[in-house]
């Protein structure tokens, strides 16, 4: 309590929120869900890799395939994370502000020597820290399990890619955390906030792609097998519309990071492929390729957080 007083209680709130999240059932249940599905997909991936190695001899980037391989029935690990990860973020934030309202504890907290901005910052940072800690733990556990399953240690390149995967995942989930904090600030009822969050999640995870397809087809009509330029333009528009969804951004970023042979995202002209050799990208080029996606996620997170900050700061708080 010596130094923490100077930033107006930010550290206190952050630590308290972190402790609440980590010990709370909510987090444990959701991370458990992610962990169970993740481990299941990892196991399936390991089986697939083993049979593939038996058939094809050596495989490059075996360790990365643990996260991207699937047997066609169970989606790969990264799909589970991209689908279920938002739930973790939503669960941690949906009642961040509205819950305090409902419990009528907000004025009590603010009666302490704690600044109002420290409260919202601390709630976001605490959630972020909890997400980062739990994801790191899951990441390490999955990595260790993968090591046991396939017995091949990751190379330095693979390790850097996996670290980038962890960082992008933390950013992705923190976007959903920021979004749910925004909803909890906008809506006074925690249930409303949660529903809004779930609606957003379902929309982006399932319907955004379909809508992007429809919208692109409506904007640039192109028959299959018709004018190639029109098809190309339609594909471009569809891609850009679907990239409005954080789920698409995350999927693109992560699959590129964990699949070194992906060299381009989006449609590629034949003339760009001519003379190209089969090969993998160096890690720097992969990072460069997904950097726009990462910037998009960071920007989205910052925008949601800033919006909730502004809303919270301007809100009238009655006891």
């Amino acid at each position: 309590m010596r130094k923490q007083t100077s930033p107006g209680g930010l550290a206190v709130i952050t630590r308290k929120e972190f402790a609440d999240h980590v010990s709370g059932w909510r987090m444990i249940i959701l991370m458990g869900l992610v962990a169970v599905t993740g481990v299941a997909s990892l196991y399936v991936a390991a089986q697939t890799i083993r049979s593939a190695v038996g058939e094809a001899g050596t495989i490059d980037f075996v360790f990365l395939r643990l996260f991207t391989a699937s047997d066609g029935k169970l989606p790969p690990f990264i799909s589970f994370v991209s689908f279920l990860g938002p739930l973790v973020g939503l669960a941690l934030g949906f009642d961040a502000v509205s819950g305090e309202h409902a419990r009528r504890t907000l004025s009590r907290v603010l009666a302490q020597p704690i600044h109002r901005d420290a409260l919202v910052n601390g709630k976001f940072l605490g959630g972020l820290a909890a997400v980062a800690a739990m994801l790191s733990a899951l990441w390490l556990a999955v990595g260790a399990l993968g090591l046991v399953l396939i017995g091949v240690p990751p190379t330095a390149d693979e390790f850097v890619r996996l670290a980038a995967f962890l960082a992008v995942t933390v950013i992705y989930i923190s976007f959903w955390l920021a979004l749910s904090i925004l909803f909890s600030t906008v809506f006074r009822q925690a249930a409303t906030s949660a529903l809004a969050g779930i609606a957003a999640w379902l929309f982006f995870a399932i319907f955004a792609d379909l809508l992007a397809d429809l919208a692109a087809a409506a904007l640039v009509p192109a028959a299959a097998g018709g004018n190639p330029e029109a098809i190309f333009a339609q594909e471009q528009i569809r891609l850009w519309l679907s990239r409005l969804s954080p789920v698409t951004l995350y999927s693109e970023a992560v699959s590129t990071l964990l699949t070194p042979s992906i060299r381009a995202l989006g449609p590629v002209m034949v003339e760009q492929i001519l003379g190209a050799l089969q090969g993998v990208l160096p890690i720097g080029q992969s990072l460069l390729l997904v950097w726009p996606q990462v910037v998009g996620l960071i920007t989205g997170t910052a925008a949601c957080f800033a919006a909730s900050y502004i809303l919270f700061m301007r809100r009238e708080i009655r006891a």
Binding site: Q272, Q285, V295
Partner: protein, 398 residues
């Protein structure tokens, strides 16, 4: 008259007696061993009783022993051997012999080995062979005329002493080394070849490299002379004197190789690394070396490249006018990938086309995308942070 009659009577009386005696005698003659007919005797003969020989030589003479008398053992011996000569050896049926058993009326073949000493001087020598048995004895003088000893001499001959072909090859000459002398000689072999050429001597049908080779007197030894011509040897005619020398004789032969010029071009980089890095839409320079690896000069070597669409590859200079054998010239290739190139590896083939020959090399160009957008992204993130901190400032604690 009476007497005449008497005599007649007597003679007529004696006649049957004489016949009887003669008959008995004839019977005795038939039944007695033929030893009684000693006049026939033993015959020792050879077809060529006088021969020319050389010092150091061993001659085998075939003798025939005929026994017209009763079967019996005939002792054989050599006599009257010239001074300093070894005792000749009689052989028969694979054995050294000193006796032979010859049936009556038959003959036996035996061999006489005579070793003529190496130092025998010219002249006629006589070796006498004796045979003696129950039926008598026989003598056979053999005349061996030693001819004037040859001086030590040697000769090297080859059926094909001149060969023609390209550099960077091995030429094999078949050479025969002839020792005309009367003594066994050990020849040391040497060849004078241009610098960097390798000459090896091998006995025919053997995979050994020899420096010296022994040759028996009056015999020949076949040799393979292998000449390895290095890569880059200039075209032209080259003489390779080969010499075989022993203590007393030398022989020489001049082998000749006519090298025809080869045209060979090699495109590579000074470091040998056939990969380059380039950034999409930006020029990058690669040094290419064009080497004449043949043995004839090349002219008008122009450089071209085949690259993916929308790439540009230029060479400075784009033409090498002349390239002497062994010479290497460097050319700067400036390659600019398409600005829309996707990151990854591409193949760029570089062709060097001379008037005489051509070569190509494939380069692996690792294309990186411009980091410009990466920096724009960083700028965006900084802007976002600035925006949030501005929000903090504007709406922060009041």
């Amino acid at each position: 008259m009476m007497r005449g009659n008497q005599e007649f009577k007597i003679t007529t009386a004696v006649f049957p007696l004489t016949i009887l005696i003669l008959t008995i005698l004839a019977l005795i003659m038939v039944m007695l061993p033929p030893a009684s007919i000693q006049a026939a005797g033993i015959d020792l003969s050879t077809e060529f009783p006088g021969i020319f020989v050389r010092p150091g030589e061993t001659v085998n003479l075939y003798l025939q022993v005929t026994n017209p008398g009763a079967s019996g053992i005939i002792a054989l011996d050599t006599d009257q051997v010239p001074e300093g000569w070894e005792q000749p050896v009689l052989r028969g049926g694979g054995f050294r012999i000193n006796q032979v058993y010859v049936k009556s009326g038959e003959n036996a073949r035996i061999t006489l080995d005579v070793k003529i000493p190496g130092n025998a001087s010219a002249g006629a020598y006589t070796v006498t062979v004796r045979a003696s048995g129950n039926a008598g004895a026989a003598e056979l003088p053999l005349t061996l005329r030693v001819s004037e000893p040859n001086q030590a001499g040697a000769a090297l001959t080859s059926q094909y002493p001149a060969l023609r072909g390209p550099a960077d090859a091995t030429y094999s000459f078949q050479v025969t080394l002839d020792n005309d002398g009367n003594a066994k000689e050990t020849f040391s072999l040497a060849a004078q070849a241009p610098q960097g050429w390798e000459v090896k001597f091998k006995p025919r049908y053997e995979d050994k490299h020899v420096v010296t080779i022994p040759v028996d007197p009056n015999s020949t030894q076949s040799l393979d002379v292998e000449v390895r011509v290095p890569r880059g040897a200039a075209a032209g005619s080259f003489k390779i004197p080969v010499r075989a020398a022993s203590g007393s004789a030398t022989a020489e032969i001049e082998l000749q190789i006519e090298l025809i010029g080869t045209y060979a071009l090699n495109v590579t980089t000074p470091s040998g690394l056939m990969s380059a890095q380039a950034t999409a839409g930006r020029e990058s320079s690669v040094t290419i070396s064009v080497a004449n690896t043949g043995s004839a000069p090349l002219t008008d070597v122009s450089l071209t490249a085949s690259a993916p669409p929308n790439w540009t590859v230029t060479f400075a200079p784009d033409k090498v006018d002349a390239l002497a054998p062994g010479e290497t010239k460097q050319v700067q290739a400036v390659l600019k990938p398409s600005s829309k190139a996707i990151a990854g590896d591409y193949v760029v083939s570089v062709w060097a086309q001379g008037r005489e020959t051509s070569d190509d090399a494939e380069f692996r160009v690792a294309v990186r995308t411009s980091t410009l957008w990466g920096f724009i992204g960083v700028g965006l993130v900084l802007l976002v942070i600035a925006g949030v901190s501005r929000v903090f400032k504007v709406y922060g604690r009041r």
